[in-house]
């Protein structure tokens, strides 16, 4: 933080200070918008006891799904784990803690964490298991669940383009949770396809302001091919 131009690093450099036990947000929905190179670097580094905050745990052999399969993850906070057989297995065996969050609530909790809100009231999940252990608040005769913010030590996100001051632009619905996570972690590492000059992204169409981004990693390669 506090640097005007953002450092462009290799994936291994970018994750070098992520310690065991870290809480890590990872962008993406299914195979879209996942920072694959950064995940591979986390695997090479062998970071352990991760609390993983991601919409899903992908497949066991892809992206952050591998982190779970490798036993690097202690706890998952997600809306869906159905595609990853190992997440399901470890969870059913009691070897992995999983906190299920409805996807819209997941988005709002991360946004609240990044935007300084103490929580949000949502009607989603009222009358279901999603309300267990949470405070219910009634307003004008309708019940809402009080959901609390999510934050992380590190956010690993994926965008299509960056410029040298860290502004990001996403393509397609690979955007998903990435802009939200960019505000909700102490250190934000963005994996991108290209790094442009300052001002080469139209200021009206910047999706994530550069002040939120700490490090840039240029993948240069293609996204995962499903």
């Amino acid at each position: 933080m506090g640097r005007y131009f953002k450092p462009v690093m290799s994936p291994d450099e970018a994750v070098r200070d992520i310690p065991d036990g870290a809480t890590i947000m990872v962008g993406g929905f299914n195979v879209g918008g996942v920072p694959y190179s950064l995940i591979e670097a986390l695997i090479r580094k062998g970071v352990k006891d991760i609390t993983l905050i991601a919409n899903d745990t992908l497949y066991e052999n892809i992206g952050h799904g591998k982190l779970v399969a490798n036993g690097q993850v202690k706890k998952v906070i997600a809306s869906h784990i159905g595609l990853n057989k190992i997440t399901q297995k470890l969870y059913n065996e009691g070897k992995l803690e999983v906190e299920f969050v409805p996807q819209g609530t997941f988005a709002e909790r991360i946004r609240a964490g990044g935007f300084g809100l103490g929580g949000i009231l949502t009607p989603t999940g009222v009358g279901t298991m999603a309300e267990e252990g949470k405070q219910l608040i009634e307003i004008n005769g309708r019940k809402y669940i009080l959901e609390l913010p999510l934050r992380a030590d590190f956010a690993l996100i994926r965008a299509r383009k960056a410029d040298r001051v860290g502004n990001l632009w996403y393509w397609g619905n690979a955007r998903n949770f990435n802009p939200l996570m960019a505000a909700a972690a102490d250190v934000v590492i963005a994996e991108v396809d290209v790094v442009l000059g300052v001002g080469d992204i139209n200021p009206n169409d910047v999706h994530t302001p550069g002040i939120l981004v700490d490090r840039i990693v240029v993948d240069g390669g293609e996204y995962y091919v499903a």
Partner: protein, 228 residues
């Protein structure tokens, strides 16, 4: 007795019937399975804008083999296309649109649905726990929640008195479409609106665990062609 048709024929019948519920300009979010077949039967002059919860309005057909990108995918992970006039946005906006009542119709499959409009389709304790994904938000926020499902699974009714599985939403379902008929959930309970031409009321009662009343006059299920 269940209608004497194949599972595939039953699915097509359901998808065709649901397709008749759409009006020009409707915004819809379709789940996997039968719901994803619905668009094949919507007439060309009824322009339905499809939303995917990962952040797109104006979803088009699947990308051609070898084309497309993992940057533009449907909620099931398949590479799709975006139509002219579509848009992309982040997940908080996507679920803001969903929760805020800006989606006209969501069509979902289910494990169970009951006579009070409860729906259970996200987990089977001790067996299958995929997570709720976006389903809890969809059933809470969409203006109309339609369940499109085979009437039975392995002979067991899907429409029950009271869901035994953990709920996805409480009192949220508006209509249920099966190969045997169309039900509406009302404050008075479940009402049978339409019955398939190859089904009798006795058949329906036999394969439906839930209690329901029959609308007078009961209509024949629309769009169903029965041989001979």
């Amino acid at each position: 007795m269940l209608p004497n048709i194949s599972v595939d024929e039953a699915k097509v019948r359901i998808a065709k019937r649901v397709a008749m519920e759409f009006k020009d300009g409707d915004v819809a979010n379709l789940g996997i399975g039968i719901p994803s077949m619905v668009m094949d039967y919507v007439p060309k002059n009824v322009r339905v804008i499809l939303e995917t919860e990962n952040g797109m309005l104006g979803m088009g057909p699947m990308a051609k083999e070898g084309e497309g990108t993992s940057d533009i995918i449907g909620a099931g992970g398949v590479r799709v296309t975006v139509l002219r006039g579509g848009s992309f946005f982040s997940s908080d906006v996507s679920f803001g649109l969903i929760r805020g009542g800006h989606i006209d119709i969501t069509v979902l499959g289910t494990l169970q649905v009951d006579q009070e409009g409860n729906i259970a389709n996200w987990m089977i304790p001790g067996k299958l726990i995929p997570g709720m994904g976006g389903a809890m938000d969809l059933v809470t926020g969409a203006k109309k929640v339609f369940v499109a499902t085979l009437h039975t699974v392995k002979g067991r009714p899907k429409i029950v008195k009271r869901c035994s599985l953990p709920l996805t939403g409480k009192g949220v379902v508006n209509k249920i479409f099966t190969e045997m008929g169309v039900f509406e959930v009302t404050s008075e309970g479940l009402v049978l609106l339409e019955i398939a031409p190859d089904t009798t009321l006795d058949d329906l009662r036999e394969h439906t665990d839930a209690e329901f009343v029959v609308k007078e006059p009961l209509e024949t299920m629309k769009g169903v062609e029965v041989d001979g």
